[in-house]
Every structure is written in C-alpha cells, then in structure tokens.
C-alpha cells in the first residue's frame, strides 16, 4: 500500500506519461496473449521494462490497471461527431463499434474479459462502470439529439435502443467471427431506423 503514495511533482517519483504509455501497451499485449486470469503484474512490468513499483504507483491492483487501460482505449472510441442526421450518426456509431471490436488485440481481449466477468462479479461491475456505462452515455447523446430533431419518438426505449447499437456487431464479429458483407452496416442502419420508429427523412 505504501507504494501507491503519490508524491508532489517536486519529488522524485512523478508519473511519467511515456512510462504510462509503455505500460499500457504491455498490458494490452499481455491481455491479448495470455488473458486476464493469467496476467500478472510481474509479467507486465517485465514486458514494459519497468519495476513492479511503477505499476503500483499508478494502479492499486491488477483489476484497476486492466480496467483503466481498457477504459482509456474503449470510451473515446464511442465518441461520434454530430452529423445532423440520425442515419449518418447511426452509421458513424456502427463504424465506431466495428473499430472497437476489430481493434488489434481487442478482438481477443473483449471476449476474454467477458468470460472472466461471468466468473468474477467485482470485475463485471468495474467493466460496466468504467467501460459499458460511459460508452452507453455517449451513444445516448446521439439518440437524444435525434429525439430533439424530431427524428426519433420522444418515448424511445433508450435502454433497448442502446443494446441494438452494439449487440448485432458484437454477435457477428466477436461471437460468430463472421465477416461483414460490404453493405452490412448500411443494411443494419436501415433495420435500426425502422426498429426505433425513426421518422423517414427526405434526402
């Protein structure tokens, strides 16, 4: 525990961003190669070429380290620009989900983490709090903008709508490992627009 004390910037042990970045890469490599269960702080430190104390100065535990690294990578990928049109926003969101799921290493890491979470309630809760919910909050912004523009009904079932944005791609890419046909995202966007009772727009 004493290792986690953060010293003032004037002190010797400041957290250097370059080292954090190196450790982050080592965590992602180790997760992809060995999975969460077999990942050890020792192995990550060795891979990053740092001492274990460099890890513990940043994160109090393996779970905190993994969650911080994956959240830092996953949440920004859920930010999509406001295109002014629901269909384009949906397509941007679906493309962003694809980018996330097919990100080098994430294609292995996410199913592994999901499996681990099914055995480890504390990990499951941390994943939802730091990855799942922040990603849903960002996606909800897109849907609320469409409600404000009159493109989606005001009584939209937001929880179900948010499930539908990520679920088909996770199922196809991460569970079934099936390829996306060239027009899959367009077709999916059209199915979602109908599912959500979107108002047809002139284009």
């Amino acid at each position: 525990m004493a290792e986690t004390v953060r010293r003032a910037p004037s002190g010797a042990a400041v957290l250097r961003p370059q080292i954090t970045a190196t450790i982050t890469e080592a965590v992602l490599d180790a997760l992809a190669e060995h999975g969460y269960a077999r990942l050890s702080m020792e192995a990550v430190a060795k891979r990053a070429g740092v001492g274990k104390s460099a890890l513990y100065r940043r994160w109090p535990s393996k779970q905190d380290m993994v969650i911080a690294v994956l959240s830092g990578l996953s949440v920004p990928l859920a930010e999509v620009p406001d295109t002014g049109s629901l269909r384009e926003d949906l397509l941007a969101t679906l493309r962003a989900v694809c980018t996330w799921l097919t990100h080098p290493r994430m294609a292995t890491i996410l199913p592994d983490l999901t499996a681990e979470a099914a055995r480890n309630p504390a990990l499951a809760e941390a994943i939802q709090a730091t990855i799942g919910e922040p990603r849903r909050t960002l996606a909800a912004i897109t849907l609320r903008r469409a409600i404000d523009r009159g493109e989606l009904p005001t009584d939209l079932d937001l929880e179900l709508a948010l499930d539908l944005l990520a679920a088909p791609l996770y199922w196809r890419l991460s569970v079934r490992q099936a390829p996306l046909e060239p027009d899959y995202l367009d077709q999916l966007a059209d199915h979602l627009l109908r599912a959500l009772n979107a108002t047809p727009q002139d284009r």
Copy 2:
C-alpha cells in the same frame, strides 16, 4: 430407460447411455468451473467416475467431446413450435434464446467458449459448424414460414435477421449481465417486427 444398453452386434464394447449422460454432466460441470482451456480428459473422467477410455471410446479428442456435449444441449433449444403468427414465433424464439443463455452453467460456459474460440480458429470453426449454424438453420425455418404466410417480405435479409434474433439477448444477458425488464422480450419482439418490415397483422 437409463439402464438400457444398446448392444453392438458382436456384443463387444457397447456405449451405455447412462455412462454417456454421466460424462455429459461432468463435462458441463468442468467447463463451468474451470473453462475450456484448463479442462482435461483426466479431470472429466475422474469427475464422472469412469476411466479415460470411456471418454475416448465416445470422442476422439477434448474438442470433439466438448463440442458434442454443447451441441447436444444447444441445438434442441433452438427448436420452436409453429404458432401460426410471426410475433408469437419471435417471442418463442427469444424465450428459447434466454433459456439457452441463462441455462445453469451455460451463462459461464458460452462466454468462456467464445473467448477460447477467439484464440483457436479450429475450435471456432467447430462451434459454428455444430452449434451456430444448426441453430441458425432452425431459426431460419421460423422466418421462412412467415415469408410464406406473407408476414415478412420475400427479399428479407435472412443473415441480418438471424443475427438480430440472438444478438440483443447475448449482449444484454451474457456480455452486459444486465437483467431483463418484465416487458423486455415484448418490446424487443416489436422492435424486431419493425426492423424486419413485417406486415402488421390484425389481432
């Protein structure tokens, strides 16, 4: 019934169904407890109270054994009766997916197997061939019946429609570990009917 022995014509090595059933339970227990990677033929044999030869007489490898057990449990769960109405058929299908995903032990086994498949292409292929595709074939029957009745368009995107039947529930139950609100399946069925361009029916 359980003690029935099917005798081979020669009367030599026969496969007793009761032993197969005991081994099947041991495989499911071992998968749920330890996961695919750490499952060994020795551990399953010990748990079932049989010799390893009893396993190898039935299946040539660990992968064949696991796939046969999971396929035997998963594929029959995808059979739903013909209710004569697409909405009722969809609800029956969605309920059957829930039963599968929340089956004791499957809630742990399926995410674990998905994670393992992301690292093991041969396993991934076997899972799709013996579990994924047969389940989709059964679900497609339901959708084709609805096309024949005029409830779904003849140019239905069957591949995408099949994804939509399983994906939201896998995402919610197995990935997010979120509960189903009491009306979730009804709401989901209505979203799917719109997504698939179903013809509204008088009821």
